[in-house]
Symmetry: C2
Subunit: 157 residues, 2 copies
DNA sequence: CCCATTTACTTGACAGCATGAAATATCGAG
DNA sequence: CTCGATATTTCATGCTGTCAAGTAAATGGG
């Protein structure tokens, strides 16, 4: 049963172990995210949108792209945030078709507190030294196919 | 600005970078999971339950525990699997209150094919050497506070 | 300018997920 | 047997998500 293309088959035990670990991380991350959102009486989706809006007014369409869902879905989520005074809709002067969803002051505060309670992967990471975190970062970047951004003299594009 | 308790504050840039990467991994994992499920005309929840059932008949209550949701929710999910011939309910001879959800033959086949298309973190991991995967595994284990299981002579409980 | 097309958003219908409360059936202890 | 705990289901409700249809505004070719 030669594995001609590489040193590891898909059922390589080490790889499976890492896959399992990542599954665990994903599960725990979600769990904690929903929990943190619930603490502020938000659903996961609402928390994600509010997090986006706290970075600045955003067209509905862009929100849908970031959430990878249909724009019609965003309408409802922003409606619920709006009805709670956490977000508002503004008109884009540059294009009257678009509506910019923006966090209100209350919304920004909520988003801020939310961020503060998102301790996942901060707590756990505290157990690793700076060197280890660097190694972890580099491995994760390579896994994700991210080209690590050079500190300076970035090659264009 | 002394940070007396450790070498890194919660806003340490390196830590934030790793947190960000983990967020990316979580997002990608989910995306691919839902996609793989959809390929088999399943929702994410249905795929997760079917995956559980493919390992053996399971009481409804246990499914709820694994999914971290209310048992009443599981009823509907198993209903949908059952109406498609992927799962069935059996009575537990030992306790007539419990119903065991079990994958049918078709269900097991579907679960098998599903597993096969869950390529996330296998593809990406192919870019890492065995040594690197080992390092990654150890770091993730420590992050998760997992005591690495000894190869033998596991301490009980 | 005018019309067709495209783009941005909303609405409505519908399915699935998730919760909580209430009903049913069974178990197990006293 | 009776009481309390446990396992499941049903029902009502709300949120997320999709799709199809509709409105409004931008855009481009005649």
């Amino acid at each position: 049963m030669g594995n001609l293309r590489g040193m590891t088959s898909r059922t390589d035990p080490l790889t499976l172990e890492v896959v399992e670990l990542i599954g665990t991380i994903v599960a725990r991350y979600h769990e904690e995210y929903e929990e943190a959102a619930a603490k502020h009486a938000l659903t996961g989706a609402q928390a994600r949108v509010l997090g986006l809006l706290s970075r600045g007014p955003t067209p509905m369409r862009r929100i849908a792209q970031q959430l990878k869902c249909e724009p019609s879905n965003v309408t409802g989520i922003v409606d619920r945030l709006e009805s709670r005074g956490l977000a508002e809709r503004r008109l884009d002067p540059a294009d009257r078709r678009v509506k910019l969803a923006a966090a209100t002051e209350t919304g920004r505060e909520t988003a801020e507190r939310l961020r503060g309670s998102l301790d996942f992967a901060r707590e756990p990471l505290a157990g690793l030294s700076a060197d280890e975190r660097t190694v972890l970062r580099d491995l994760l970047q390579r896994m994700l196919g991210v080209t690590p951004q050079p500190e300076s003299s970035a090659p264009g594009h």
